[in-house]
Amino acid sequence: MGRPQPGAPEPVTRRRLLGFATVAAIAATVAMLGGALRPSAGDDAVAAAPVPGGETLPTGDTAALVAALQSRLRSSGANADGYVLLGLAYQQRARETGDPTYYPRSGRALRQALLLRPQDAVALGGLGSLALSRHRFREALTLGRQALALAPSNARSLGVVGDALLELGRYDDAFHTFDSMAGLKPSVASYARVSYARELLGRPAAAVAAMRLALDAAADQPEATAWAHVQLGKLYWSAGKLASAAREFRAALAAFPGYAYAFDGLAQVYAARGRLAAAVALESQAVDAIPLPQFVSQLGDLYRAQGRAAAGARQDALIGVIQRLLAANGVTTDLETALFDVDHGIGLRHALALARAARAARPSIDGDDVLAWALARNGLCRAASTYSKRALRLGTRDALKLFHRGMIERCLGDRAAGDAFLRRALALNPHFSIRWAPVARKALR
């Protein structure tokens, strides 16, 4: 039975239409979506959907969704909507697994979508968030602004632009953007950014207040809830409040069992309490779940604190492998690599060159701090002092940055000023670094 050609009017009978209204509604929705997800769904939508009535949907997990989208694209040909969804689904897979090979795949899919529909704000925003994940912040800023030009009042695009500005050290612009985002749409996403900005400005209590609002807004979303708990835990940790930090990390695990970031946070709490074996076990669980460089690095330091130098060295070697894998997939890790090398005394001159390049690409207070530390460890304390001051220019209460500043002042011969910074670092958090807190304490003796 043939279907009449579009445009050939014919009465529509109930029989023909029975059930089709749903299809129309769905088809219309996708048309309305501009090829992707509703704004308040997004990545989470890709990741999650319950299965009503036991019917298997391709949305039960992201891996299945990726497979379904790929097969649809093969069977029905090039389609901008499909490529946008696929591109976002790949990014979600990267978040879930820590596997960076999903990044180039996401980029290819999103660029394919833009070939088919050049002015797609969702695809541009997706490329922007991809650039953020790869620490390519200038690229992210450009893409985010393009998306924003197409949809000026879109919270997601504001987030991409604000995040990029922040990492580029343009704090006034970034904070303005985050304020716009929070004024447009209070949510986990916007409250979390307000919280981070307050933390950077040295207002930890206000940062906690905003993160608690984020936690409320994350209700019924296990991963977002766990994420907010972990951020709260880190805020408490930064202020040396171990018990409160541990409570938040445990709450994260209760909300979302197996959450790697919560294991990592708890490991630091246990290490601070001198329970190194438990800390190693917890950090190993984090590494097993997602082998992120910062987890592996922390595990190496924990092994060394236990006196297990060989085990620590194995972790260090693993980091090199992970960083090469990240680099091969377009992720810039210069800043992290430079800090790791400087901290571990590996190729200090090369590490300094790396830190200079990283700071140029990422002139944030973190870029300033790592460059300062790299300069200091190379004996260039005068130059280091300039960058260390810049790193603290927002008034951030960051024990590690204060420690760096203190050591640099001492290197310049101003012992009183240096010790004052070391005391501030230890007063904030006596356990701020398993590697450097003991050094600070020793220096003050």
Binding site: G2, P6, P9, P11, T13, R14, L17, L18, G19, F20, A21, T22, A24, I26, A27, A28, T29, V30, A31, M32, L37, R38, S40, A41, D43, D44, A48, G53, G54, L57, T59, T62, L69, R72, S75, S76, E96, T97, S153, F175, L184, K185, P186, S187, V194, Y196, A206, A209, L213, D216, A217, A218, A219, D220, Q221, E223, A224, W227, G258, Y259
Partner: protein, 455 residues
């Protein structure tokens, strides 16, 4: 049915279905168990759902309960797709959300003439608190009253009327407690009895209920997902899922401009919408949650509207993705900013593409008249659910809206025009029988014995 559509068309819209399935699932079912293992460390999420502030439906109608015809019901449902068995926390209203109803009674399109605000606070208590149990509810002993020791989490709430700039807490101020999620027969052996305790009669003929109910919306999406394996009758895909409901019953005289009853008022036309808002924070501001929730000011300026809902499916099917954040943050009387979505609705285009039957030509002034105006001669545009309270009880959307109204079919009829008068999705009623008495939505599925199937 597949033969009717033709294979090529199935292929063309197949991909759309996957995306749309995702989208509509998210609209109606919320996030559910996330498969995501982790987000990146500093990378805050860029997008998130907000089920506690996500309004699935808004209803306004003249009471159909015998002897209550002078009352108007204002009902909002939030938290899409509650899986009844989702312990240990189940589903709660959010103390940081302001849940509001807004009513326009002078036809100026601005729904600020009478407003009601419902706010919740949490109380951790009872044996759960004493024993430090990681559970919200426990049968120690079985919970048969809202004072039960096993209710480890209780949500208290207030109802405030805002009229002429004056805030009045509707009283007498008794302890109002939200009815908890239906955990199961051992923990809550007489759930209906428990829920009945959560229906409060306030002064002046006002009744209120806040708590869990069966999701009254019905639609057949499952058949569409199965490669358009459509059927008659269809299956309600929302069968077996719950929502959280705030139902407010007020005398119509509290709403009408001349404070008269439905049959006596000279201005019987009301417009209304429901909204959710969260506190507005700024980076350098001094706001903390305490200033908001410990007797703090909750005036409009300090909150940002996250979602608004008047007519069903407008947010889902009319407003384009890129404008949804903006649209939701604005009051409905700003709708002239979004007129193009109404005049050239993509739902109409989709109907035409899928079925080939003609829809009314664009620009569609019929849609804007139906959704944005009291009468075609109105100068302003405001997207409100409109009710003529002088109509007999039982009127259906778009004259008000009751939980039993089949809005999917009606939306298709409205958008599709005369050629689609017989169209529908094959699901004409909810999975549970909807009560004709307050609060007009059926008891929720219980966590132990829930099923997801046709009745």
């Amino acid at each position: 049915m597949l033969a009717v559509l033709g294979r090529r068309n199935v292929a063309v819209i197949g991909l759309a279905l996957v995306g749309a399935a995702l989208a509509l699932l998210m609209l109606r079912l919320g996030p559910g168990p996330s498969s995501a293992k982790a987000a990146s460390h500093r990378e805050a999420p860029l997008i998130s759902n907000d089920p506690a502030a996500d309004i699935t439906d808004f209803f306004m109608f003249r009471s159909t309960e015998p002897g209550q015809g002078d009352k108007v019901e204002l009902i909002m449902d939030v938290i899409p797709g509650e899986e009844p068995s989702a312990g240990p926390n189940y589903y709660n209203f959010d103390p940081s959300v302001a849940y509001r109803f807004h009513v326009d009674n002078n036809k100026d399109g601005t729904a600020d003439d009478v407003e009601f605000e419902v706010r919740f606070t949490n109380e951790i208590r009872g044996v759960v608190n004493d024993a430090g149990l990681p559970l919200s509810y426990v049968a120690l002993p079985p919970i048969t009253s809202l004072d039960g020791q096993g209710l480890g989490l209780r949500q208290h709430y207030t109802v405030t009327m805002i009229k002429n700039g004056r805030r009045t807490e509707l009283g007498p101020v008794t302890e109002k407690i939200a009815v908890p999620s239906n955990v199961g027969p051992r923990t809550m052996p007489d759930y209906d009895g428990l829920a009945a305790q959560g229906m409060y009669t306030l002064g002046g003929g006002v009744r209120v209920f806040a708590g869990q109910r069966d999701d009254p919306f019905f639609i057949d999406l499952g058949a569409a997902f199965d490669t358009l394996n459509l059927r008659s009758p269809g299956t309600d895909m929302l069968s077996g899922f719950n929502v959280n409901t705030i139902a407010l019953e007020v005398p119509a005289s509290l709403l009408t401009k001349d404070a008269k009853a439905p049959d006596a008022t000279s201005q019987p036309k009301l417009g209304a919408y429901a909204s959710t808002s969260r506190p507005h924070v700024t980076i350098r501001g001094l706001e903390g949650r305490h200033s908001y929730f410990r007797g703090g000011d909750t005036s409009r300026g300090q909150f940002v509207q996250i979602q608004r809902l008047a007519n069903p499916l407008v947010n889902e099917l009319i407003i384009g993705t890129k404008d949804k954040d903006f649209w939701n943050s604005l009051d409905p009387d700003q709708e002239s900013l979004f007129l193009d979505y109404y005049r050239n609705p993509r739902l109409g285009l989709a109907l035409f593409l899928v079925f080939g039957a003609p829809v009314p030509p664009t620009p569609r002034t019929d849609l804007e008249n139906a959704l944005l105006k009291y009468s075609p001669t109105d100068r302003g545009y405001s997207e409100l659910l409109r009710l003529d309270v002088s109509s007999a009880p039982g009127a259906s959307w778009p004259n008000g809206r009751k939980p039993m109204d089949d809005v999917t079919d009606t939306a298709i009829h409205v958008v599709g025009g005369p050629a689609y008068a017989g169209a529908g999705d094959g699901v004409g009623a909810n999975d549970k029988v909807l009560p004709s008495t307050f609060p007009f939505e059926a008891p929720p599925w219980d966590g132990r014995n829930r099923v997801h199937q046709n009745p």
